[in-house]
Amino acid sequence: MENYEPEIVAFCCHYCAYTAADMAGSKRISYPANVKIIRVPCTGKVDAIHIMKALEKGADGVYVAGCLEGDCHFKTGNARARLRVARVQKILEDLGWEKERVAMINMSAGMGERFAKTAFEFTEKIKSLGPNPISQGKIEVQAVS
Amino acid sequence: MKTESRLEKVLASGAMAVTSEVGPPRGVDPEIVRKKANMIKDHVDGINVTDNQTAMVRMSSMAAGIIIKQMGLDPIIQMVTRDRNRLAMQSEVIGAAAFGIDTMLCLSGDHPKFGDHPMAKAVYDIDSVQLIKAVKDMRDEGKFQGGADMKAPPKMFIGAAANPFADPFELRVMRLAKKVKAGVDFVQTQCIFNLEKFEEWMKGVEDRGLDKQVHVLAGITPMKSVGMARYMKNRVPGMDVPDEVIKRLAGVSKEQQPEEGIKIAVESMERLKEIKGVHGFHIMAIEWEERVAEIVEKAGMYPRPQV
């Protein structure tokens, strides 16, 4: 498991984190290639099942990056996302998994550096946790309908 | 006279009555009951026997009541509607009466949540008002709750509790009125520490003429310490302990606090005696039965009338 490169899915809000990632790019601030960004119109659009499916398909970590608390373009989308992340964390705990594999992160559109920093930090955290526990199952993860 | 109850006779004579209580043990030793009863027997007209108080399992109030009755004393068995349905309660009233027990108290009881069996299902087939009515129906009409006539009805002098301090205050006189309507003969009140509020409640009781229909025994609890006073203020539901009481206890040394507590109790009794509708006292000396005699004497209520 040494030197393993985790796969991380980041659901990024179009109005903040996605723009911040863009800014990081244009400022030439690098962030780990482990992080695969999925743009969403608002983190409120991310449901618990999306996070679960990412894990089911083998993601080692998932985070939802939304606007700063109180700054949601759609008022409460990021607050809802925070609760959904917490719900998935609870499910993981109930299964005996590390709940730290999923996280909610907040930032504004101008925070290119914060985007890169959180991407680094989250990647490091997932590296320390090791691969998605389903890899212990020693079977190919099959596509699940 | 409705019954053979000594308490009824004392109250009928116009004298102020005194009752106190014995908490049955959490084991089978009858000596504990006898010992506690002996401590107070010469200073009271009736001995309440609590019924799984604070929802903790104890020797049943009827069994402990029988032990006390067999000592030639006058038990007042408490019965909570929490633990039995109406079949069980009627049969227990009959059973108690068969042993000569003639005075009882109808209560709803503390919620099981407070006791050592919080997982138990509370019964609450009927409430305390309905229990009063059920016992009265047996005594005066010779009727079971199911409607059938009974032979040899139990002659019970029927008591209940009244808490002038619980919310909503304005409902508390009406609550007593309902118990009177159901047929209660006497009530013992919650421990009184807030005398102004009690006087206000009693005024409401007198205004409605309830004092002529029911005997009110004022509840007295001597505080052992300032710690106990704080606990009762903050932790016991429906208890009203004014800050002055706590201040007064805190104002003396720890060794002096029990004496101060008894002094407060006696002073309260002196003041409460002046209220027209107060026909006696119910002294709840929690795990402090040995001081009941002294309180009764200091309040000038000893010896007890012979009836």
């Binding site: 679960m52 299964l95 079977i139 | 087939d125 409430d127 009515k133 919310d167």
Partner: protein
């Protein structure tokens, strides 16, 4: 509605341990509204069960289906085409749905995935509170629209016990004293005199005291 909450995950996992083909059945009625066993919850639970078995190197085949109404044989019939392929049925409906499935499919191993809680009303999003115990003889007409049977911790019918503090029940500050609420509302309506009417001991037969209850509507039972 009937409220429910998902059972602890480990209990569900234990039930399913012997099986590899699961028919996971949700319900579009009450459990959807209280977010315990609707289509979304079916999806989430299926996903969690997948994660669990993948970790153990097993595969579990879960067929997800959410019926219009699991307590109705007409809709449960829809399971006919899936039932034979399943080793076990995991129902996310209230106990009524679980039993309707068990009655219809005699050979099926049926397990509940939720704990059925109470008949309640929604207070705000995500908050439900008990409002009815189905006593079969509604008293709301004499208690100003607030139920003492379901909302008083002791189901007292003649007023509050002595344990009320600051308008709250003795069992804890998160529970309003039902009789305080009844009293306040009687006053607001100007009918506080009603409080003093003695309420007789309740006949619990309609509440289930006479055995399991049934309603037969002759005009509908063709």
């Amino acid at each position: 509605m009937i409220t429910a909450e998902q059972k602890p995950m480990q209990e569900i996992i234990q039930y399913l341990a012997p099986y590899s083909k699961i028919l996971l059945v949700g319900c579009n009625e009450c459990v959807t509204v209280c977010a315990a066993g609707g289509r979304k919850e079916v999806g989430l639970l299926a996903s969690a069960l997948h994660l669990n078995s993948l970790k153990q190197g097993k595969t579990i085949d879960i067929k997800e289906i959410t019926l219009e109404r699991q307590c109705d044989p007409e809709y449960v019939e829809e399971l006919t085409s899936y039932i034979d392929a399943a080793d076990a049925v995991l129902s996310m409906s209230c106990g009524c749905g679980v039993q309707t499935i068990a009655t219809r499919f005699k050979q099926a191993h049926v397990y509940p995935a939720v704990n059925t809680k109470f008949m309640g009303a929604s207070l705000s999003q995500g908050v439900w509170a008990e409002r009815c115990q189905g006593c079969g003889d509604c008293m709301l007409g004499i208690t100003a629209g607030i139920c003492p049977v379901s909302r008083c911790s002791k189901s007292l019918l003649n007023g509050p016990c002595g344990g009320t503090s600051n308008g709250q029940c003795e069992i804890g500050p998160e529970t309003d004293c039902a009789w305080r609420l009844i009293w306040e509302r009687l006053k607001e309506l100007g009918i506080e005199g009603r409080y003093e009417a003695l309420v007789d001991a309740k006949d619990w037969r309609p509440a289930g005291g006479a055995g399991p209850r049934k309603i037969i509507r002759e005009d509908l039972a063709l």
